[in-house]
């Protein structure tokens, strides 16, 4: 497994190569896409990207936490958290053959 990190720069480069707009505009468009997703989530909307996955906002209730160092009890206030559920297509792509760690396919099971 390689251990590289992909950032906005590579996403913009891919858009630049694929669509043929300027590099600046490609970077701006990638940012706009991310911002639109973030805005929808901040409104509490679910974002579903077919064959990739869905992002949803979940409300968490108040609970009592503990400072692991001091053992002191601290209340954790109600808050909203983001949950990402990958699609089957994405999970499939990640486990595709070609990966050295991929176990041999098992055809006997009907999952």
């Amino acid at each position: 497994m390689t251990d590289n990190t992909v950032t906005r720069a590579q996403l913009s480069e891919a858009v630049y190569q694929e669509v043929g707009l300027s590099r600046n505009e490609s970077a701006d468009l990638v940012e706009t896409v991310l911002n639109q997703i973030a805005d929808a989530l901040a409104r509490g909307e679910m974002v579903k990207i077919s064959s990739f996955g869905s992002f949803s906002v979940r409300q968490k209730g108040k609970r009592i936490g503990r400072n692991p160092k001091t053992g002191e009890e601290v209340p954790i206030l109600p808050r909203r958290v983001l949950v990402f559920r990958p699609s089957h297509v994405l999970k499939g792509r990640i486990n595709q053959v070609g990966d050295a760690q991929q176990p041999a396919p098992q055809q006997s099971e009907h999952a």
């Binding site: 992909v6 706009t32 973030a38 989530l41 990739f52 109600p78 983001l82 792509r93």
Partner: protein, 99 residues
């Protein structure tokens, strides 16, 4: 919001873009993230979040209907960690939010 609504939104915000290009932009972004994860790379989008791949060890599972043991093979699963800025935005305007 669905992927097609996101494409429409992008086309609205950038009226000079062809609808077809708006679609290619959105598709390319998610395709690049998918390809990176398939290579085992991490995708880090500051302020938004980071996608990574986690390994799940093989384990002995059970068929919940029959109770029979089944071997569940090792697998890789995508994982998303919300970025700090987005996490804060989700809780903005919430007076109960701790800092």
């Amino acid at each position: 919001m669905t992927k097609s609504e996101l494409i429409l939104r992008l086309a609205e915000l950038r009226p000079h873009l062809l609808q077809r290009d708006a679609e290619r932009i959105v598709t390319t972004v998610f395709e690049e993230i998918t390809a990176a994860l398939a290579r085992g790379d991490r995708v880090e989008l500051r302020g938004f979040g980071a996608f990574s791949v986690k390994r799940r060890e093989s384990r002995v599972g059970r068929n919940p209907r029959t109770g029979a043991s089944v071997n569940v093979e090792e697998k890789l699963v995508p994982f998303f960690k919300t970025g700090k800025q987005l996490r804060e935005r989700l809780n903005q305007g919430n007076p109960q939010q701790s800092s």
